[in-house]
Symmetry: D2
Subunit: 288 residues, 4 copies
């Protein structure tokens, strides 16, 4: 990364009041901070204020730790001790991907990484089947096969957890991983675990959504990228998209068409998450 | 309508087998019928065959009644006594529109009719409020105000029914009519009553779908045009569409954005219905 | 408009540098200004900074003229004497619409105004044919018929100009007005005259774009809402959209499908323009 | 392929007249042919009739060569000696892909093949750079590096031609191959060479379309999959799609967003081509 492209990214939330923008902007201006991108939002229902700012790292006379220490004071003065982050884009993002047998999302993510479009480190891919091991290794990425035998799921999840946590990833991506995360993993990975659900939620929660969609005779099918919570398919939605289907499309056709929307939507959601563009408040997201 | 643009439109359904297309095509070819548009579909799950054909009226040596009488024999020979229609596009389509206070769908339909885009007769508009009376009458269309007082809904629906049935319309359009049709009206108008629901069904069935959508934090809102059945918001879907919303959109913004999708989707569904392009089988539609 | 919903809207552009956001935010914060919505953008190519801010009018201790006077000093201190506006949403927006014979855009705009969705005053509609006079008057809006005879276009444009300028409108909407504005009118109405072109510009500039699109065999047709400039169909683009077409669509079908996109795109562009969301820089727009 | 899923696919075109459907349908019905899918279209401007039919192979008492021989008689009787094809889906489709350095389309196609979604044989990948060799070989597919030195393009194209022709492929895919095919190759591969152009044609023909799009300030960027002809970027269009961009998108962002549309559109166009769904007539396509 050229020095001129290195950024410090600040996200911040607090109860809305006058003077917040002025306070943050003055803090940055006094330090010489060059704001490259800034976004603001206030939710009128909850009265919560949100902002995300990107500052050129080379415009500030101190490093990210010092920025964090100083910004903590700003945040505290605005009544927000914990609802903020400051990250340095020079720290590479680490991602662990969980898969099963369906490979379209994995192929898509690996292709984006290989072509440089998604500039992250895929630390590992973990599969409950080993069918996607070869392609993963062909990309130079470690693949771990963790079988999920009947009666042995708890142990399997323990193994997954230790493999994941060894990398302390910024994102854990459930790329059509067909196992439901236990509540303690949802808690441990809260705000970092992203799922791609193969329907336009809240339609067709649960299993075999394309079959449900076909039976209902809908004219569009969709996909939803959301944060994983203990409540199945009910976590905060990051992104959704749809594609047109018709009477000529069998369930298999819907599955095939839907795959494009799944991989497209997952890739967008993951990018935004890794760029700290997604701020969660309650069960809704602000995507800057 | 110039004679060369007059069409006989045949729709037909029967259990699939070999030779159906040949049988119908031979029947038409022997009479000199010039097929302008033809579509076929077989549903592999139910084994049901569907077709819709448009024939130039001036290519046949007989009128629509004779065509109907002759086609009845073809249909019978293919095992389908009732699942077919033959219509003459020279017979103008009659539409009755039911409204409440929200006018966007009515304004849109009236504009399409006035500009000649939707070449139908709007026989009447019936409102449970009178706020849309003036614009209706400005278009030269009779408006009937039928109040729905608490405790008087049954009588109100009787009045609506007699007003509607007096026109024997090809379509009864619930253009954001906020009353739930009683089961006997659903039955009486089966296959002719179209509703526009302001959500992407089956998401957000029932009241205040935009509020539900906002609370869930979805990233797209939609609309669904469907045939009315006794099961609320569960009738066969004719058309659906969606529009993107974001964290900056309040419920009021979603309502406003959704209106465009509602009127657009209703207009498409109504056009297809009036052109006999929608074939219903069970709870699903084939849209040719 | 309830006092709590009245806003002062500031738009501002200047060469980018550090401290702009801080300067504007401090100015507003010191006066007690409650920012309801704020957006920022810097164009890296031109180095130009843009912002739009909405402030609750009742949060400031002075009126819009005083705000304008004070903000002029802020703007000057940031090196921008002229590239800014301050408007009061309590001043109703005035719109004049120019039409020819095709009514779909006019019907749509009138319906939006009548239903309260587009809360503006349509001061007048001017047509070079009189076929849209009745519907205009039915909405209680004056209609002026200004014929454009061969050899008399210059006089006709003079008459249009005086009719338009009498209202000093915030927007002059060419709603499928089929006459090309002379250069002096483009200059006089610069930044206020919006056109809807019935193609996805820069494809199919000029006459009969749907015929051109059909001949080329494109699979989508579109519409473009743009500011009118002396260079035909080349002004800054505000909004564009497309709709799918296929081999079964004749030119007439494309025209019909395209109409929905035209009216939808024009309505969006007009709303954004009237809400001061569109900032023009060179030949491109920033739409906040 | 299970015997019940094997199909004979017939495409056919001839001057429109009455009795064509009856003639073809009777021919198939007499042989016991079970039509699984059938589509018809007549172009009113050229008076040309098009059809595509899928017949279950196991419903006919003869093989594909016999079907071809017999159908030739039907075609001849309808005035069409050459504008028809009969293919057997049991014959696997062979594809050769030409690439340069940009890998997103190649990664996408290889992923679709590997996951079984696109059930074809990629016979070879040919690159004018070798940067995509490793990933190709990781998928078990031969990669040929053919440099295109200044002054040596003619020889390079000769080498490409012989490498391609050795496989007699059903499709030659220019997957962001940045070289312009010489006229003799366009002729030799007519109807088999597909290109993906990174703009919504006819906008932004030629080089650097995203730069052109950015300069013009468009609000959507697109991609076009078309047959290659000697006239640059002017061949018959198979499929197009667009994606929304805004003032915040740099050229690099447009390039990134456009890639998704490119690979999505190319994959659709290629699938339809290989399924014999694309019938070319003049410079336009019918896509069944």
């Amino acid at each position: 990364m050229p020095p001129s492209e290195r950024r410090y990214v600040i996200t911040f939330g607090c109860p809305d009041r006058t003077g917040i923008v002025a306070r943050i902007a003055a803090f940055l201006a006094e330090a010489g901070g060059w704001i490259v991108e800034a976004a603001y939002h206030t939710d009128p229902e909850t009265g919560w204020f949100f902002t995300r700012q990107e500052v050129r790292a080379d415009s500030l006379p101190f490093d990210v730790d010092e920025l964090r220490a100083r910004f903590a004071g700003v945040a505290r003065s605005l009544g927000s001790d914990t609802d903020w982050t400051v990250v340095d884009t020079a720290e590479r993002r680490r991602v662990v991907i969980l898969v099963s047998k369906e490979g379209h999302c994995l192929y898509d993510l690996l292709g984006r990484v290989a072509s440089g479009e998604l500039d992250v480190d895929v630390s590992a891919v973990i599969g409950n089947h080993d069918s996607l091991g070869d392609i993963t290794r062909a990309h130079g990425i470690p693949f771990h096969h963790v079988p999920f035998p009947a009666g042995g799921k708890a142990e399997a999840f323990e193994r997954v957890r230790s493999l994941v946590d060894a990398h302390d990833p910024h994102a854990i991506v459930l790329a059509r991983f067909m196992q439901i995360l236990p509540a303690e993993l949802c808690a441990a990975w809260a705000g970092r675990a992203l799922n791609i659900h193969h329907s336009f939620l809240p339609s067709f929660i649960g299993a075999r959504p394309y079959h449900q969609a076909h039976a209902r005779g809908v004219k569009l099918v969709g996909a939803t990228c959301h944060y994983v919570t203990a409540d199945l398919d009910a976590g905060p939605i990051i992104e959704q998209d749809v594609i047109r289907v018709g009477h000529g499309d069998s369930v298999a056709d819907m599955v095939r068409k839907g795959r494009d929307i799944e991989k497209f939507t997952l890739a967008k959601g993951l990018r935004w998450h890794l760029e700290n563009r997604v701020l969660v408040h309650g069960n809704r997201t602000v995507v800057f």
